[in-house]
């Protein structure tokens, strides 16, 4: 058998992880609503072959509910981190190419946003916008761009001082042309890696804010809601609604985080030859 080199292995692993995530998402999204309808006679059952995660106090299958919740979380997470990443690129590029005052201003805003714990900020924004999907989305998107924006600002600053950019200017190219042709293409890997690494944070924040009751409405099968409900029954000895969906959440977050790491390994020229 032909032995695979390291890059092939890493790529393969990344593809498997991505496929797994997509499959989980599709599964969750395809589950019909009546599959998680309540049935009192099945209530409070511990995990079994029929109900791998058991059922909750209303007799809803927790495995299916978790899958469905995960799909909701992933949608929010992806949307929020995509918005965040785009904001980060815009802000970062503006700070790096704009005047000194713009840069100072952006730096100040980033400091302000980062000085408040994310969870508190997400709660405030979500609450101000009337909770629900929209509030949560805006809340998460508005808080996660800061560190990536800083990274991109630094990258653009460094690129702008390159000799080939100076040459381009003397060949009569405009700032806009240089931005599009010389600078932005270098940011593509940063953008994608940043987006994917932001994803687990977004999911965790969504879950925690929903858990605290400031996010999604209770009828949504979100992970945060499931965990929040489970607290009521924990003292009655019902451990499964808290532990199993919680573990599933941790697993997904770790999976996405590893995926981001692998992607960075492949795209980063410093580790690409290892």
């Amino acid at each position: 058998m032909k032995t695979w080199n390291r890059r092939t292995k890493v790529l393969l692993l990344t593809a498997v992880m991505a496929a797994l995530l997509i499959a989980l998402y599709a599964l969750g999204a395809l589950i019909p609503d009546d599959a998680v309808a309540s049935s009192i006679q099945n209530a409070k059952q511990p995990p079994s072959w029929e109900h791998p995660f058991g059922t909750d106090a209303l007799g809803r299958d927790l495995f299916l509910r978790t899958l469905k919740g995960m799909a909701v979380s992933m949608t929010i997470g992806l949307a929020a981190s995509a918005i965040s990443a785009v904001v980060a690129v815009l802000v970062g590029v503006c700070a790096a190419t704009g005047s000194r005052r713009v840069d100072a201003c952006v730096g100040w805003v980033i400091d302000q946003v980062m000085s408040v714990p994310h969870t508190v900020l997400v709660i405030l924004i979500s609450f101000a916008l009337g909770r629900g999907l929209r509030g949560l989305l805006v809340g998460i998107a508005a808080t996660h761009w800061c560190s990536l924006a800083r990274l991109i600002r630094g990258e653009v600053m460094q690129l702008r001082s390159q000799q080939y950019v100076a040459v381009s200017r003397k060949l009569g190219r405009s700032s806009g042309w240089i931005l599009v042709h010389h600078l932005l293409p270098h940011l593509v890997p940063q953008f994608f890696v940043g987006l994917i690494l932001m994803f687990p944070h977004a999911i965790l924040h969504e879950a925690s804010v929903s858990f605290l009751g400031f996010g999604l409405p209770p009828e949504q099968p979100a992970i945060g809601i499931i965990l929040s409900e489970s607290m009521r029954y924990l003292s009655a000895g019902m451990w499964w609604p808290a532990v199993l969906p919680g573990l599933a959440l941790v697993l997904i977050v770790l999976l996405v985080d590893k995926l981001g790491d692998h992607l960075r390994m492949i795209l980063d020229p410093y580790s690409a030859q290892e």
Partner: protein, 198 residues
């Protein structure tokens, strides 16, 4: 018809010492001038000032009596010591040339640029080959003055001779004003009509 530095002073900011103090220099079209000095005397800084990459703190750089244009194609082009830094590593070399104008077949021939190179990425070519692209790119833009800042220092002597023979031929053909910054006295004597020591 001349490129002129008039009593030029330069420092990066007020806290830093002067890199250049009261330098004047005149380069005519069709003239080949060598700027000969050991390192640390501000040769490269003067080169960058003359090409408009830096603005003098005091004094002025004049092209035919007018200040250098700050926008558009600059008639004074600078070629750096490290060609691999002066070329976007993500661009194929064909695109690098097209950045300054459309390709000219006879130009490729004159510079010893082989056709397949245009499809390659910079890391697939050596310093000497990349330097040809940098010179060709500068000339494609229609430059009237060429500032060569130690362009052959990192090359072996054979490649050095190859590049300079091409540059000298083009300078002759186009009546370029040429300023060669170098620390090699033999090279300066070989390529230039006049020598200035800093």
């Amino acid at each position: 018809m001349a490129l002129e530095a008039q009593d030029v002073y330069f420092r990066y900011n007020k806290k830093q010492p002067w890199v250049l103090e009261g330098r004047s220099l005149k380069l005519e079209r069709g003239e080949r001038l060598a700027l000969f000095a050991p390192s640390g005397r501000g040769k490269s800084t003067l080169a960058m000032l003359l090409a408009g990459y830096l603005a003098p703190t005091q004094g002025q750089i004049l092209l035919d009596g007018e200040p250098l244009p700050s926008k558009g194609v600059c008639p004074v082009q600078l070629i750096y010591q490290h060609p691999e830094k002066a070329i976007n590593p993500r661009w194929r070399l064909g695109r690098v040339l097209e950045e300054s104008g459309s390709l000219q077949e006879d130009m490729l021939e004159a510079f010893g640029i082989e056709r397949p190179w245009l499809q390659r990425f910079p890391r697939e070519l050596s310093g000497g080959e990349l330097q040809r692209f940098c010179v060709a790119r500068a000339l494609l833009s229609g430059a009237q003055y060429l500032i060569c800042d130690e362009i052959s220092t990192m090359l072996d002597v054979i490649t050095q001779a190859q590049i300079w023979n091409v540059v000298l031929a083009e300078a002759e053909k186009r009546k370029l004003g040429l300023l060669a910054v170098t620390h090699n006295r033999h090279l300066a004597q070989r390529i230039c009509t006049r020598m200035v020591e800093l």
